[in-house]
């Protein structure tokens, strides 16, 4: 799970996650204040159609409601939307279209739009009341865009300040060399830096009793998810060197097949049966979730504590690395096949094409995006421009893919693969940019994945147990068969690393992709199985690794 994560960036990523939590806290605190003040629709409304909740200080002074109905000539509150705002400030019907935009109490703009609506039909309304509000804001207003939010209490302000202090403190403590040395000494750095604390942090922040990340805030930051999926795909694709496939070390092919095929078949069979019985025989689409779990089960992290690169046999390390790369390739292919052949149907996907056509669409789109990225990178100059183009390419590719219900990870993997294997001087700068930003983006992605993780369903836990068991059994069986077939030519250390490998970031990306592509209750079970399975697996591998390390130390002492 350590793949590509820059340890240096950990403190900042902590800060990012905490910031998100802080924002969520502020949002929820204000939402609670809103609730305490009563729902907006019930608030007294001035004759101008402006809610009384808008009459706080500053803006209130600037925009105190009109005293006389004649000033406006509009109807009172009857024009306000009928829908009841939810606890976190959302209104039902949000995002239903341009015409019926959500009535969000936190949005001053909408209040202004409401003024438009109210005035528009009245005889006294001015001729030019045609312009929809609000405009863009290049320079910041003094609290003008959220002036219907209640005035903050001193407690809120203190909390905000303390949280800011805490961010810096955590970043400082996390990045301090002594803390790093302590982690190394305790050998906990792998678990800690793998990012699982960020998943847990997201999970806690999302929990209703904590109430830090509300639905509305999650919706607001949801565009980061496809971006994160795309980033993981592009980074992995970029590192995939096509030349490695041409001249593999001995036994790579059969090692790959054995440690991939057996976990795949076992996981697919057991999890498929579980899904089948949990959903009833009338749910053939459970097959796709079983396939997604099977695809996730084949994956291993790009580094393992059981095969440390410093002291292990170089051939063994090389072979393991190749096998892991091939696993990633297989998983990407598997995900694209599942997404193409098990697409949701109906109005959500306007184009109705056969599964194979979707494969062609995926590949063609990825190739075109790669060409765009390649040509754009060829004309950039400075480091800042490279960063901009990388962000733009990932955002464009992942957004487009997700919009078309194609896995963003797959599309970006292909883009990254083509960029990484095409000739040109862009690769050095691209590699540097990816390395610089990869860690924090990855950790923020895990934080959001944790926030979208629903733990409640028993089915998810059952799948988790089945997933962990079948994956471990499949890998062990695969290694056993490998030992038998190669007559112990593959070193013990390598076999142990293959059998007890941690799961990589791609496995979690696949689970999140499932939720992105096939939203529904089953995809939340898949997330529980894969994310929970990754955590369980990681802890188990760490325990084994620490145990073996202890034995080695004792042997050394003897």
């Amino acid at each position: 799970m350590r793949s590509g994560v820059q340890f240096r960036a950990l403190p900042v990523a902590w800060a990012v996650a905490l910031c998100a939590a802080l924002i969520g806290f502020a949002g929820s605190a204000l939402a609670q204040q809103d609730d305490a003040a009563g729902p907006l629709k019930e608030a007294p409304v001035d004759p101008g159609g402006v809610s009384a909740t808008e009459t706080e200080p500053l803006d209130g002074a600037l925009e105190a409601p009109s005293d006389s109905p004649e000033d406006v000539g509009a109807e009172p509150s009857t024009d306000l939307p009928d829908e009841e705002p939810s606890a976190d400030g959302d209104a039902p019907g949000a995002g239903e279209g341009d015409e019926d935009v959500a009535f969000d109490p936190g949005s001053a703009e909408l209040a202004a739009e409401h003024v438009d609506e109210v005035l528009g039909d009245e005889p006294g309304a001015v001729e030019l009341a045609l312009v929809p509000l609000p405009p863009s804001s290049i320079d910041p207003p003094l609290s003008r865009e959220r002036d219907d939010a209640p005035q903050a209490s001193a407690t809120d302000l203190v909390k905000v300040i303390l949280a800011l202090v805490l961010i810096v403190a955590l970043a400082y403590v996390g990045g301090h060399p002594r803390v790093r040395r302590l982690e190394e000494r305790l050998r906990i750095s792998h678990v800690v830096t793998a990012g699982f604390p960020f998943i847990v942090l997201g999970l806690v922040a999302r929990h209703p009793s904590v109430g830090i990340l509300s639905d509305s805030i999650l919706d607001e930051i949801r565009p980061i998810l496809p971006f994160g999926l795309g980033w993981i795909g592009l980074a992995m694709g970029f590192r995939f060197d096509a030349r490695d496939v041409d001249r593999p070390p001995t036994h790579v092919g059969q090692t790959f097949i054995l440690v991939t095929a057996l976990p795949f078949v076992l996981t697919f069979t057991v999890c498929g049966l579980l899904l089948y019985f949990s959903g009833g025989p009338g749910e053939p689409m459970h097959l796709r979730f079983a396939l997604i779990l099977a695809v996730a089960s084949v994956l291993s992290g790009s580094s393992t504590p059981l095969l440390p690169r410093g002291n292990a046999d170089a051939v063994a390390v090389d072979r393991t690395t190749r096998v892991i790369q091939l696993e990633q390739l297989a998983a990407v292919i598997g995900l694209s096949l599942v997404a193409a052949f098990f697409r949701p149907t109906g109005v959500i996907v306007a184009w109705q094409l056969p599964g194979m056509a979707w494969i062609f669409v995926t590949l063609g789109m990825s190739a075109v995006l790669a060409v765009i990225a390649y040509v754009t990178l060829a004309v950039v100059g400075s480091r800042a421009e490279v960063m901009l183009v990388v962000l733009g390419v990932i955002s464009f590719s992942s957004g487009m893919a997700s919009y078309l219900n194609i896995p963003a990870t797959v599309v970006c993997f292909v883009v990254g693969f083509m960029l990484g294997n095409a000739p040109g001087s862009h690769k050095v700068q691209l590699r540097e940019t990816l390395a610089r930003l990869e860690g924090p983006i990855y950790l923020v992605f895990l934080f959001l994945a944790g926030a979208h993780w629903r733990l409640g369903a028993v089915e998810g836990w059952a799948l988790l147990a089945a997933f962990v068991a079948t994956r471990a059994l499949g890998k062990q069986l695969g290694v056993a068969v490998l030992t038998w077939r190669t007559h112990d030519e593959v070193p013990l250390e390598e076999r142990r690393a293959l059998a007890l490998s941690p799961m990589g970031a791609l496995a979690i990306a696949i689970a999140v992709s499932a939720q992105d592509l096939f939203p529904g209750v089953e995809s939340s079970w898949v997330m529980t199985a894969v994310i929970g399975g990754a955590i369980v697996n990681e802890v188990f591998v760490q325990a084994v690794s620490r145990g073996s390390s202890g034995r080695e130390l004792m042997e050394e002492a003897r």
Binding site: P11, V12, A15, I23, G27, G48, E56, P57, L58, D59, A61, L62, A64, D67, S68, A94, G95, D98, A108, A111, A112, V115, L130, V131, P135, S136, S137, D139, P140, P141, L142, R144, R146, D147, A152, L157, V160, I161, L164, I167, V168, Y172, P223, P226, V349, A350, I372, V379, A384, E385, M387, V389, G392, F396, S397, S398, G399, S402, Y403, P440
Partner: protein, 446 residues
């Protein structure tokens, strides 16, 4: 090649949107990501094309937004533009932080007189001139039709103050883009920042008077209290944020750009919710770091690394939000007021710099830096709508039209001014003002 890519990207966006047209008109997370990527790439390419044509890159970013936006080709829907406004908060805070780190008091000391005179004469004078022009053009402004003389004067004053607002964002972005430094650009930056605060204060005062003239109650004490909280509270938080930045860049250092963007995001989101001004918070932080700590340079370097994607996203989203429909409906009067504003600011800064004895380069070109205009005027227009619901919409349309023209024209003029003044590309060279300031003491020592 860039043009080809620019067109191709638009084609891809359009083609993909045809997949599920119903998703385009509403808020859809993947579409937000997709559109952001499109704007980043297209605006970057357009910026390069505009630069080749001798125009500011920033205008290219804005033009991309306008072209793709809901009032242009419609590739980016209103709902998506709304979703993308999340970029604004970070950008504003980051731009203000940049402005703060540029305000080195030691370098600005010789220019204090010019800054004060321009702020007072050019800004206040132009606000009065604009108020007079609006009063004079009342027959072409139907929303003012039913007001009495006294009310008309008061409302004209409020509109005059609203329309005179400048744009620190554009000034900072153009300074960065052209690598400009020198007495003129420093003066302009200081004036637009101070002008921003002055306009907000003036707006509060004149709108309270206007509301009184219309028989609408205005609580003066409450206004003063809220303004105090907003200004002094923001400054106090700015000191804290500045201290945190200084600590971070002294002891942690790693991934400074990301940390900075994160803190800006927090300040923008949380600050607005607790009625503090993100601009003022990060501006104060920047000034503090620049003038009271040794980490100013480190912070500035990190800002430069992070600023390009933020600027591109910010200005292209701003372009997509420009209400071209407003410009069409009220174009004539808006154009006239743009001309009046330009005359007022240019002549006002000429007079002010002469009185202050400013260097020649400041006298000749500083006025052009006051012309760019953007969000503050728009935000005040929203407040105007709420404060005067009877005719606020008409006034908003007028302000939107004026801002649209200024957004397109003023950056070009300011870029020309930066180039002609010789300050473009001068960053890193010893500033003339500093040399001039040091000359007398050096002569005395000799």
């Amino acid at each position: 090649m860039r043009l080809l890519l620019f067109v191709f990207l638009a084609g891809m966006l359009h083609a993909a949107e045809s997949f599920a047209p119903d998703r385009v008109v509403r808020s859809f997370p993947a579409l937000t990501t997709f559109t952001l990527g499109y704007l980043l790439l297209s605006a970057y390419l357009a910026g390069a094309i505009f630069k080749k044509l001798g125009m500011p890159k920033l205008t290219g970013y804005l033009a991309t937004g306008i072209l793709a936006g809901p009032y242009g080709l419609g590739l980016v829907s209103k709902a998506t533009v709304e979703d993308l406004h999340i970029v604004n908060g970070v950008a504003i805070a980051l731009i203000a932080l940049t402005a703060g780190t540029e305000m080195h008091f030691k370098s600005l000391r010789p220019l204090f007189r010019s800054i004060a005179f321009i702020s007072l004469i050019a800004i206040v004078g132009t606000a009065l001139l604009l108020a007079g022009a609006i009063y004079g053009m009342r027959d072409w402004l139907p929303f003012l039709g039913e007001l009495t003389q006294y009310q008309l004067i008061a409302v004209s004053l409020v509109l005059g103050v609203t329309i005179v607002a400048q744009s620190p964002a554009v000034v900072v972005a153009l300074r960065d883009e052209t690598d400009a430094d020198g007495p003129m650009s420093r003066t302009v930056l200081a004036v637009v920042v101070i002008g921003d605060l002055m306009v907000i204060l003036l707006f509060a005062v004149v709108s309270a008077i206007a509301r009184g003239s219309l028989g609408v109650g205005a609580d003066v004490i409450e206004t003063a209290r809220a303004l105090s909280w907003e200004i002094f509270g923001s400054v106090a938080l700015g000191f804290l944020v500045g201290g945190l930045f200084a600590l971070y860049f002294t002891y942690v250092k790693a991934s400074g750009a990301l940390f900075m963007v994160t803190v800006c995001f927090v300040v923008a989101e949380v600050g607005a919710r607790v009625h503090l001004d993100p601009l003022l918070v990060t501006l104060t932080a920047g000034i503090l770091i620049r003038n009271a700590t040794s980490t100013g340079e480190a912070l500035h370097t990190e800002i430069e690394a992070a600023s390009l994607p933020v600027y591109v996203a910010f200005f292209s989203v701003a372009g997509a939000s420009i209400h071209l429909d407003a410009l069409i409906s009220i174009g004539g009067v808006a154009t006239a007021l743009v001309v009046v504003r330009a005359i007022g600011l240019l002549s006002g800064s000429q007079v002010a710099t002469r009185l202050a004895g400013a260097p020649e380069v400041v006298r000749k070109y500083a006025g052009f830096g006051l012309l760019p205009q953007a969000g503050l005027a728009l935000a005040l227009a929203i407040l105007f709508t709420r404060a005067f619901p009877d005719f606020g919409d008409g006034a908003s349309a007028l302000v939107f039209g004026i801002v649209a023209i200024n957004e397109l024209v003023a950056p070009v003029l300011f870029r020309i001014a930066l180039t002609r003044s010789g300050e473009a590309g001068a960053r890193g060279r010893p500033a003339e003002a500093e040399i001039a300031a040091e000359e007398p003491s050096a002569a005395a020592a000799a």
